[in-house]
Structure formats: C-alpha cells, structure tokens
C-alpha cells in the first residue's frame, strides 16, 4: 500500500527543509522525498497549497485510562489527537491505578495498539503510587517502553527523592519530568495571584511557587547530571532560571502549553470554569516571557497538557471545578493564530516545537521527514479559518477556554505509519 503526498510545502525542521515537493510512503515508511514523484497504484493525497510536516508530537497528555474513563480513554483521547494533527502522544501516569510498573506500561501500550488512533508513548511514575516516597521500578518500565518518568500532578516535594530519581533514571537515559510548583506556597489557590485575583477574591497561586520549585529542580539536575524536563512552564522566573541553567550546560529541557503562551488571567474574570487550570493562566508579563523563551530556545517544546474532565466536574462553582481542559484539538490552531499569523514565529519554528523538540527530549525515532523514517506525517492548512466547537470534539472533555473562538490554521490530514487516520477533520479509524 503506497501513499503519495503531492505538491505540498514540505517543512522539516530537522534538516532545515522548506520547499515544495512530494512525499512517497511505502510499507509505512517514507520511501522518497522530492519533486514530481510518481508511483503506480499509489493513493494520491493532493497537498497543493498545504504544508506537509513531520507528525506532530504531544509529550504531555492525560488519556485518563485506566480508571478515569468518564474524563477520557485511550480511544477517545487518541482520536482527539488525530483530529488535532498529532501522530504521537505521551500519556501521563496519574491514572487509577497509577502507572508505576512495567505491567501497566505494557498494558497501556497494548490497549493503545488495539484501540488507539495514533501512537501512544507511556510516561511512568517516578515514585511508587506517585506518593513521593520510594522510587518506582524505573528500569523495568523503561525496558517495557516507558519514555520518561514523572509524578506529574504533584511536585516532588522530597528533594532527596528527586535527586535519587535523577541519578537512577540516568542509568536508562530516561528523562525525569517535573511538575514544578511548591505546593505549600501555592496553597489552595484557584488562579494566578495578582491584580485580577485581588479583585475577584479568588485565592491566588503565586508565580514564585513555580520559580522556587524550578530553581531547586535545576540545582539537583546540575548536581546529579540527570536529564530534567520541566513540564508546563508558566512563569517569567522559571523561563529565566531555565535559560541560565542551559547556559551553564545543565541537562534541562522545558515545555510550554498553547494556553500559557496565549491566554492571561483576565480570562478568569468570567468565572468560566474552563479557564481553571494548573499551573494557572498568568498575567500578561509572564505570557510575554514565555513567548520570548519559546523564541530563543529556552523552551524546547509545545505540549498541550491535554487534561479532559467529565462535564459534572466542570459544571460547578469555580473553586470546586477540576483543574485542566483538553488541548489536542485546539493546539495547532491556537499556536498558529497567536504566534504565526502575528508574524512572531515562522512556520518552521513552530513545527519544530511540535515535532523535533519533543522527539529529542523523549528520544523518539519520529519527528523528522527522512527517507527510511516512519511515515508519521501531518498535513496542515495554515490559513484555514475555523471556529472551535467543543460539542463536536472527539475528546470527552467539553470545557475549553477556546470554545467558540475563531482560529486560523488546522490540520487537514494525519498520517500514522503511512495510514491516513484523519482527513478533513474526520477521524477515519
């Protein structure tokens, strides 16, 4: 079965490619890239006027399975991924039970193989039960296929545990992903602490709670030589700490979410629970610092922190609402609208943050369009204007701060291992 993508603008950040051409896929791998390719019997995908990129990779999603299927499961979450142009997602281990051993890692991969629409990579827990006390069996999990370990959802408050985790995980070249926020300092805050929280009366989570956590984590990475990845960076202070650490040669990488790169705490004035997320939407100065950090390479990847919840968990008073919202189906449109169409980033820069960046952090063999590589490809229309309608989304989480917004830019085809899993917004698997 061959697939020929014709006349697209091929953008491949790994090789600094940005040119019109064809991509031929055979047996699930890229067999040729060039001009005027032909292949007998191949299915033709006309990409004239469209952009052909490596399949997008989201290194931070919550698929909620096992145990939290009212929010999402592997089938629904990976369909949301396909709809959004993602060919690979890495799922976080804060499920019920926690993914903290090799059997669960293997089980997720097996179920994803049968029920998933896109590739699923598993992030195992750093500590048993994510309790922050004893290391989980990291070696076993990596051998079973885990690509990183994390206690995401919680900060590793015990500095000694993070130290040993960084040391131990480095044996297996496994990055440790930190959800960096000092929980005592953040308290029971419901939004960013600042001028907006001051007048809404909602308790605030101060930016400094993230800064102190990132600072400590960087010092431990520096001391141990372990690979540290900071999840969902949201503060100017964290960006600066990471920037300085990289200059010193610390093995630290970082991601930012589409919402932290584009929305401010002003959104919370509506008391719309779709704006409740952790880390919280910050003030404009933090958003600006994040965009600058993305531009200068301090932030390596854009990741959604796709965090769907059941309707009843969001249809409540703001302070009782669950943190987080889905992001897979809106990410590309949000990022292109706010960062590409404003002239701040080139398409290639943004594609890099959604492909090569996360692939390098997690050590994946995808993220680049090369002959012989797995044919994970996204075709996108950067100029397609569309309106977000969460009622029609594939994810089970129906609350999004982007619901109803007009965006410019959308994936129009998602190809995993040479197979079209989404075309024109319809998931075909």
């Amino acid at each position: 079965m061959k697939l020929l993508i014709k006349s697209g603008r091929i953008i491949n950040p790994a090789t600094n490619t940005d040119e019109i051409g064809d991509v031929l896929i055979d047996q699930g791998r890229i067999s040729a890239i060039g001009g005027q390719l032909t292949a007998e019997g191949a299915e033709i995908l006309d990409a004239t006027g469209l952009v052909v990129t490596p399949g997008l990779i989201d290194m931070h999603v919550h698929l909620r399975e096992p145990g939290l299927e009212a929010k999402e499961d592997i089938a629904s979450g990976t369909r949301a991924a396909a709809a959004g142009g993602f060919t690979t997602v890495a799922c976080m281990p804060n499920t019920r039970p926690i993914i903290d051993n090799s059997i669960l890692v293997a089980g997720i991969q097996q179920r994803a193989h049968h029920e998933g629409a896109v590739r699923v990579k598993v992030i195992g827990a750093l500590s048993k039960g994510q309790e922050g006390k004893e290391l989980a069996e990291i070696g076993d999990m990596v051998e079973a296929g885990a690509v990183a370990v994390s206690d995401d959802g919680h900060y590793v408050a015990n500095a000694k545990l993070l130290r040993t985790g960084l040391e131990y995980a480095s044996i297996f070249d496994c990055p440790v992903i930190s959800h960096a926020e000092d929980e005592e300092l953040a308290g029971e805050g419901y939004m960013h602490e600042g001028a907006v929280s001051a007048m809404l009366g909602l308790k605030g989570r101060p930016a400094v709670a993230e800064d102190v956590a990132v600072a400590r984590d960087i010092l431990l990475a520096e001391y141990t030589g372990g690979a540290l990845h900071i999840a969902h960076v949201s503060t100017a202070g964290a960006v600066e700490l990471i920037r300085q650490a990289k200059k010193r040669g610390v093995r630290v990488t970082a991601e930012a979410t589409p919402h932290h790169l584009t929305l401010t705490d002003e959104e919370v004035k509506s008391f719309n629970t779709a704006t409740k997320v952790n880390p919280p939407l910050r003030s404009a100065d933090h958003v600006e610092a994040l965009v600058a950090g993305l531009k200068d390479g301090t932030l390596d990847a854009i990741a959604t922190d796709h965090a769907p919840h059941a309707f009843e968990e969001k249809d409540v008073e703001f302070r009782y609402a669950a943190n987080g919202f889905p992001g897979l189906e809106t990410a590309l449109g949000v990022v292109l609208t706010a960062l590409y169409h404003t002239g701040r980033f080139s398409l290639s820069e943004l594609v890099g943050k959604l492909t090569l960046g996360p692939a390098r952090i997690l050590g994946l063999d995808t993220g680049s369009l090369e002959v012989g590589a797995l044919a994970d490809i996204t075709v996108l229309d950067p100029d397609k204007v569309w309106t977000v309608n969460m009622k029609e989304s594939y994810t089970r989480g129906k609350h999004s701060p982007f619901d109803g917004r007009e965006l410019k830019g959308k994936a129009v085809a998602t190809i995993v291992a040479g197979r079209i899993v989404m075309k024109n917004g319809e998931v075909t698997i």
Partner: protein, 318 residues
C-alpha cells in the same frame, strides 16, 4: 445621559464592579424613600404583592438574611428562606440542580449567599429569576457596598472626594471589594490598611492606596470602615495573635483621633469587640454601626423594588 432611562428592571445584581454609577445613584435615591416606610407605624405596602422571593443561603447569616426577608415582606412579597443545612445540598446536589429546582417553583427573585466566588454569576447564567448576590465568597457583597455608601452620603452629603479608609482583613473580605468598586466609581478616595498578610497582592492597580500602617490610612480620613477579623485567620498563620492585632491594627479612640474630628466610623458586623474595634468607639457618637443595619433594610427594599418594578417613583407604581 439623563437619569430617566436608568432602570434596573430584571437586572441581576451580582456586584458593584458591573454596576454603573448612575445605577447606584438610582438605588441610593430609591432607598431614601424606602427608609420612610421603615419608620411608619404600619410598615407593609402592597407594591410587590404576588411576587415571590427565595433567600437561598448556603452560608450562615443572620443580619443579611433577616434584612432581605423583612425588605421583601415590608413590600408585600412572599419570602421563603432556604438554608443549605436544611436543603438537598447536604445530599450532594449540584448548585445548578438546586437553582433549577427553585426556578421551577416560579420565583421572581433568588437572593443568594454562597461560599464560592462567582457563584452568583453562575446562578445568573443557570436560571431565569433575577439573582441578587448576598455575598459570594470573598468576591462581592453588593448590598453591603450600597448600604455603606448610603450611610456615608447620609452623614457627609456626598461621596465624591471623601477619604475612606478600609481597615483590616481585605484579603478575605467581599465587603471590602464591593466598597472599593462602588466608592471608586462614585469618586471617593479609597485607602486600605491592615497586616500585609491580609492585603491582596497588586490590589493597588485597581486605583486604591495601600498602607502598611493603619495610622497612615487613618490620617485625615472622613470615613473609617473597620472589617471583621475572623479568628481562623490567626490559626492559618496570617497574623501572630489576636492580642498583637488589637494592639497594632485595632481601631480605638486614640487612633481614631488621626482621622477627621467628625469622621464616620462604620463596621459591617458582626463585631469582635476588643479585637478589630474597641467598644468605646463602637458605641461613640461617631459610630454609624446601628444606622448601617437600618440603611441595609432600605437598600434591599429599593433593590427588590427596582429589579421587579423598574420604576423610580414608588407611589406611581402602587
């Protein structure tokens, strides 16, 4: 804009942030007429006969709930009180479902108090009866803000250019926030003081002046509004002891001399005498604390009347 077209008919009263100065003027003017009714021998007027009001209180309240209840009854409406402890809330019903149930009974106004910020807005989006916010968490308490402004205007004749000092726990106070929005819109100068641990970060950006020392806020103030200090704030470590609070931040006769000689002293109640306010000043000639309660009734009568009848002239609508 002429005053004639200002109307609050069918308007949710969620807070003073979203209320225009002209609308507040209308409420204050109407409340003056309502106050006359309270002083009558026979208080009941038939203005809201056939209308029904539900006081939906998810938090304990004596004065606000009683005030709304009497306000409705004096105007002839049927008033029912629902308190959270006696409702289906304890059975785990969602706020939306509780509101839908109350709505289905055909009520005209829901007066709601709830511990969560934004809950009044939630209610206004969930159901059709007029929602009057009787306090949503630390967010707003618009009728308290209005009654405080009414009281100030009664004594000072105006709000514009007055220096109003609000003292105490601003961080957890919905009274403070409604006062700030209302007073700023009416042209007053708002000064805040209290332990820095109880002052919201960056609140100065809204246009108020923030002081670390109470004395600086009191200096030359025309009005001193003292907020209640809840004892559990001390247990949460936000200030070391009640004793130290009273000594450094409490309003007593000595400190009050820093304000204008005729400065008006207010407190939303209930007071912790000897903590945030000393009895000697609470019962002094400068104190308007009892007057505030009576004015609260007038303000709530005015609001109930205005959101249901819309008109400005009480007699005309009879």
């Amino acid at each position: 804009m002429s005053k004639g077209i200002v109307t609050l008919k069918n308007r949710d009263i969620l807070g003073l942030e979203t209320m225009a100065a002209a609308e507040m003027e209308l409420v204050l003017d109407t409340a003056r007429e309502m106050k006359n009714i309270i002083d009558r021998d026979i208080k009941k007027v038939p203005t809201l006969r056939g209308k029904s009001i539900v006081n939906l209180f998810f938090e304990n309240s004596t004065r606000t709930r009683t005030s709304f209840e009497l306000a409705g009854k004096y105007l002839g409406a049927d008033v029912v009180n629902i308190s959270a402890s006696g409702s289906s809330v304890s059975k785990g019903e969602s706020l939306r479902d509780t509101l839908l149930t109350v709505e289905a009974m055909g009520v005209d106004i829901i007066v709601m108090r709830h511990e969560a910020e934004g809950s009044a807005k939630f209610a206004s989006e969930a159901v059709s009866p007029v929602i009057i916010n009787a306090g949503d968490g630390a967010h707003e308490h618009p009728t308290q803000g209005l009654l405080d402004m009414f009281t100030i205007r009664q004594h000072k004749g105006r709000l514009e250019d007055l220096k109003v000092a609000i003292i105490g726990d601003i961080l957890h106070s919905r009274v403070a926030r409604s006062n700030i929005w209302g007073l700023l819109k009416m042209g007053a100068q708002v000064h805040l003081a209290g332990p820095q641990t109880l002052l919201p970060r960056d609140i100065a950006q809204v246009g108020v002046t923030v002081h670390k020392r109470v004395e600086d806020a009191l200096e030359g103030a025309d009005v001193v509004n003292v907020l209640r200090i809840q004892k559990e704030r001390q247990q949460k470590g936000l200030f070391p002891s009640a004793r130290e609070y009273a000594r450094i931040f409490g309003i007593n006769a000595h400190r009050l001399t820093l304000a204008q000689p005729d400065a008006l002293l207010m407190h939303p109640g209930p007071m912790n005498r000897g903590l945030e306010i000393s009895p000697e000043v609470a019962y002094s000639g400068q104190s308007a604390i009892q007057e505030q309660v009576k004015n609260g009734l007038a303000i709530r009568m005015a609001l109930l009347f205005l959101v249901l009848m819309g008109g400005k002239n009480l007699e005309a609508s009879n």
